[in-house]
């Protein structure tokens, strides 16, 4: 087994261009569990723990930018995040336990592309952008486009997730994050939902919704948003919204829950969010 330990981004990118199949190790909270379960370690690992300048949170030009190595505990307690992106802090606080939150990183949470990733629904409703960097270029794409399928992402073999950029949310919005786990702590989501809403008298002004653990990737519920846009939330509107929701999710029965439960529980928390109970 070969372990590379680059001390700066340039060094990392050089190694990665020579060793495109090497596995990138950040906090290790997902990877170590996977290696342990398979009882096989990868041949080549690039540990990025020394890339200290990838751990940052800053507010600049109407964006909050979070370095990819920023851990969940930092996100949970950071002032900028709590001020502008409160449900991202909430979501971070629901991840695992303190030890995992101290090790796990936002970049890893995205790169692992688990449909149950706790940060994903919040990031999706905040219109998060993933900033990727390689030897020759830097590119940005929407998080919803970064996910390509079950545990698959658009991350190139020569690339590194540099940061997550989030535009400051519009004024006056209400946000909420729901996670239904297998227990109250140390748990993986059976279903999760993030919502961002701004209601006006004449109807919904802004609505963004995203869900976890109900499809191969965390998903932004664009169709549902389109339907709700401008509507007044009557019982029948909410009921139609629930029907639309069922069409766009593809939950499965697995080790944690059932398809039926995921459908109904997600519907119920959507109703709860929309009706503001």
């Amino acid at each position: 087994m070969k372990i590379f330990l680059p001390t700066n981004i340039k060094e990392f990118l050089e190694i990665k261009s020579k060793e495109p199949d090497a596995i990138i190790l950040a906090g290790g909270t997902d990877l170590l569990a996977q290696w342990h379960n398979n009882k096989i370690m990868p041949n080549k690992i690039i540990s990025i723990s020394m890339l200290k300048n990838l751990s940052f949170i800053k507010e600049e030009n109407n964006f909050v930018e979070i370095g990819s190595l920023t851990n969940h505990a930092t996100i949970e307690s950071n002032k900028i995040i709590n001020k502008y992106l409160p449900i991202l802090a909430t979501a971070a606080s629901t991840i695992g336990a303190p030890a995992i939150r101290n090790m796990g990183t936002i970049g890893g949470n995205i790169a692992n592309a688990s449909p149950a990733a706790d940060l994903a629904p919040a990031l999706l409703v905040y219109d998060a952008i993933v900033k990727l960097t390689s030897m020759n270029s830097t590119r940005e794409l929407k998080l919803s486009e970064f996910y390509r399928g079950y545990k698959q992402t658009a991350l190139g073999k020569d690339e590194l997730i540099f940061s997550i950029k989030i535009p400051l949310p519009p004024q006056g919005v209400v946000t909420e994050f729901f996670k239904i786990g297998t227990r109250r702590a140390q748990s993986i989501a059976k279903v999760s939902l993030a919502g961002l809403i701004k209601k006006e008298k004449k109807g919904i002004d802004i609505i963004r919704l995203a869900a976890g653990s109900v499809a191969p990737t965390p998903i932004r519920l664009y169709e549902l948003e389109k339907f709700l846009q401008g509507k007044i939330l009557t019982r029948s509107v909410i009921s139609t919204a629930c029907d639309i929701l069922q069409k766009y999710i593809k939950p499965i029965t697995d080790v944690r829950s059932t398809e039926e439960y995921r459908r109904i529980a997600l519907k119920n928390i959507l109703v709860k969010f929309l009706s503001g109970i």
């Binding site: 109250r184 702590a185 748990s187 080790v255 439960y261 109904i264 529980a265 119920n268 928390i269």
Partner: protein
């Protein structure tokens, strides 16, 4: 006196500072690491074990069934479980061969180059499938044990009853999830085999290893390593594991260690028996139950192992704490193609008590009676006759427990107000409160203790120190501390003079297994008898009457005082004085194993539990808010430890009732890792208020009765009854996950 005092754990400092060496910390020169080659199907014929020609196996020790010099049997109750599969595979993961290598990495590498060829057959798996088959074609099933209990005339009772109430109950697998997985090390020295490991019953392991190796029992020495939890999971399984390490050790001539990783441990070691109970009751208008007919089915897994005794205890607790004049119980331990199910805290009682304690609330619900009133009308009292005809003579305290519980939990008020709460109100949660009243028979069932003939000893050393020599293991419950408390109090000497080392079969007599909530009550009595004997030996030695007071012997009428150390020096004459006693089985404890009649247990411990919950209407999650319990245990030798057992056991039972799911998927346990097998964390634990009552048992040391298993018996049904209170839905299966609640609500058209 150290009785009733919160003495700190003798091994506490070493444990919390990480200094204590567990079996996985052991290393020996030339030690090999063993792994198990396992069957790939749940049922089939073993056709061959294929070793990859391109892999170099020269450094790998390999053991298959044909290498076994003794018998290919793991000795437990009935000798039907092979040590390694010879022809027939009975469960997925059944050990087919063993390998050992210089490093664990090498061993894993070798394991990847071994293939097991099989001819697959159709297995039977899962309690639902077993029950379906039982109802359709019962003769096609294999029964390991089918005891019946009969009292009075059930049919007459049904005829006289105002109502007939029926219900069916299911419980699932439960994994012990002890902190420390299974582990064993076997080495040879001077022609003897030494097995040291994480285990509960050294004298179960010894004959099992001897039988497989084909050597004399005396040539096997079993030593308990500090053990990180067991809960019954290390009662029978270590016999198999020690046989495996011993076989590899015998073949290689080297020390061999096997430490299961968590996935292997969850996947292939014992679990709590899944169960099915059908109850039919004849009830009078005011709530008196006059007849109960029950069918009990336990999924025993692939081999007999401990199932007959687990089932017996289950059947004997099936009527719970009620005095029912007419009873007919037929119980069945049925074979299936999963790893043999085994001992787990409560030993069959949590399953049948879940059924009966849920059933009594079902009766109350359907007859519009209060759960408290119906219990009050049916509770057993001193003088009551159990289903086996046993007359209860002493230390019967369930009535007291219940009244105290009602008082501390404010049950009546809460129950009525939660029953009336509007289900449709725009709130997030609904509240509920439920109770359960339970007992646990302490020590072995029936004549078990008579057959065991347990012996314990104390050794007085010339320096005045005393060693307690028993085969009972400390697996967290505190044997190593409680026994010195008993001896130091019996003899009135400082506790610092008394030690209770971990058992080593070359040193300790066979005081029986550490199971069945028997250690303090039964073995504690034996050790008390040893202390009495020591006193009479002192009297013989000093040829006068002897008392001990605060570390001094008081001799004769003129009260001559001799320090205990001096007295010890004098009586021992430089040679340790060894005093051994056997358990004096109560002559009036008569048990008929064939008809299940007589005294099933010498005494019972009692418990009343109330759980208050909130059910989330959107997510169907159940959150326990308050857990009130009142337990009567005879005497709390060490109240802090007793509380630890009661609260810890309650949490384990909470997991059993609410979240611990272990499903079968193609013969494999689906939830087989810590990430997927979900137990409560501290965040899931409600506020706990626990009260200990003491009604001394005349034969227990200082009045103590069994305690360790009791808290596992009542929490799950109390939760179920709380959900009934909150939602008015009878849910007759555990764990009651949100998915289960949803299923039941859908079935009733509520969603």
């Amino acid at each position: 006196m150290y009785i009733g005092k919160n003495i700190n754990r003798i091994d506490g400092f070493e444990r919390v500072t990480g200094r204590l060496k567990f079996i996985a910390d052991y290393k020996m020169d030339n030690m090999l690491y063993g792994l198990t080659v396992r069957a790939p199907v749940a049922k089939g014929k073993l056709k061959g074990i294929i070793f990859d020609k391109h892999f170099n196996f020269s450094d790998i020790t390999i053991v298959t069934a044909s290498d076994i010099k003794g018998e290919n049997i793991i000795h437990i109750i009935k000798d039907d479980m092979p040590c390694l599969v010879k022809d027939q595979i009975e469960y997925l993961g059944e050990p087919v061969a063993l390998i050992a290598a210089k490093s664990l990495k090498m061993a894993y590498e070798a394991l990847r180059h071994i293939k097991v060829e099989v001819e697959e057959e159709t297995p039977i798996m899962g309690i639902e499938e077993i029950v379906k088959t039982y109802k359709r074609e019962p003769d096609s099933l294999t029964y390991f044990y089918r005891p019946c209990i009969n009292k009075g005339d059930v049919n007459k009772g049904f005829d006289e009853a105002s109502y007939i109430v029926e219900a069916e109950f299911y419980t699932g697998f439960q994994e012990h999830l002890y902190l420390e997985p299974q582990g064993m090390l076997t080495y040879q020295k001077n022609g003897k085999f030494y097995s040291i490991g994480s285990l509960q019953c050294p004298y179960y392991v010894r004959p099992a290893v001897a039988k497989v190796l084909g050597i004399k029992e005396e040539d096997v020495i079993v030593i308990q390593a500090p053990t990180g939890g067991a809960f019954g999971g290390k009662e029978d399984f270590p016999s198999l594991l020690a046989a495996h390490t011993a076989l590899l050790c015998q073949k290689s001539g080297k020390p061999v260690i096997m430490i299961y990783d968590r996935e292997e441990d969850i996947s292939f070691t014992t679990k709590r028996h899944p169960s099915y109970v059908h109850h039919k009751a004849g009830v009078m208008k005011e709530g008196r139950i006059i007849a109960l007919e029950s069918t009990i089915i336990f999924d025993a897994g692939a081999y007999t192992t401990l199932s007959p005794v687990v089932l017996s205890r289950g059947a004997l607790h099936a009527c719970s704490v009620y005095n029912i004049p007419n009873v007919r119980i037929s119980a069945n331990a049925i074979k299936s193609n999963v790893p043999p199910t085994g001992a787990f805290r409560g030993f069959g009682a949590p399953q049948t008590l879940f059924a009966m304690e849920s059933f009594i609330d079902t009766i109350a619900h359907r007859l519009k009676l209060s759960p408290y009133d119906i219990r009050k009308k049916n509770l057993i009292k001193t003088g009551s006759e159990m289903a086996t005809g046993q007359k209860l003579t002493e230390s019967v305290a369930i009535d007291k427990c219940l009244d105290r519980l009602i008082n501390i939990s404010d049950f009546k008020k809460k129950y009525e107000s939660y029953k009336k709460q509007s289900k449709s109100r725009e709130t997030e949660t609904l509240k509920g409160i439920g109770i359960a009243t339970v007992m646990h028979g302490a020590s072995f069932t029936g004549s078990g203790e008579l057959i065991l003939k347990s012996k314990g000893a104390i050794q007085l050393n010339p320096d005045g120190t005393i060693e307690i020599l028993i085969a009972n293991t400390d697996m967290g419950q505190g044997v190593q501390t409680i026994f010195p408390q008993i001896v130091a109090s019996k003899l009135n000497i400082p506790i610092e003079l008394v030690r209770c080392p971990l058992p080593d079969t070359s040193r300790v007599p066979n005081s029986g297994p550490t199971v069945a909530s028997r250690t303090t009550m039964i073995v504690g009595r034996i050790i008390s008898l040893c202390c009495d004997e020591l006193l009479s030996l002192f009297e013989k030695h000093f040829k006068d009457s002897v008392k001990i007071e605060k570390g001094f012997l008081i001799i004769g009428k003129n009260k001559k005082r001799i320090p205990f150390k001096k007295a010890a020096e004098s009586i021992t004459n430089r040679k340790p004085l060894y005093i051994e006693k056997q358990y004096d089985f109560p002559p009036d404890q008569v048990w008929d194993e064939t008809d299940f009649k007589g005294t099933a247990y010498p005494v019972y411990s009692w418990g009343a539990i109330a759980v208050e919950i909130e059910v989330n209407k959107f997510t169907f999650e159940v959150r326990p808010i308050n857990l009130y319990s009142v337990y009567e245990i005879g005497k709390a030798i060490n109240p802090k430890f007793s509380m630890g057992q009661l609260e810890g056991g309650s949490i384990q039972a909470l997991g059993y009732g609410l979240i611990e799911r272990c499903d079968l998927k193609n013969g494999k346990f689906f939830q087989n890792r810590l990430q997927t097998y979900i137990i409560p964390t501290s965040e899931d634990i409600p506020e706990m208020k626990t009260v200990i009552l003491e009604e001394p048992y005349s034969r227990g040391p200082f009045g103590a009765k069994g305690l360790g298993e009791l808290p596992h018996n009542g929490v799950a049904p109390a939760i179920r009854n709380a959900i009934l209170n909150a939602l008015s839905i009878e849910i007759n299966e555990i764990p009651i996950t949100p998915e289960v609640i949803l299923k039941h609500m859908k079935n009733r058209g509520l969603i």
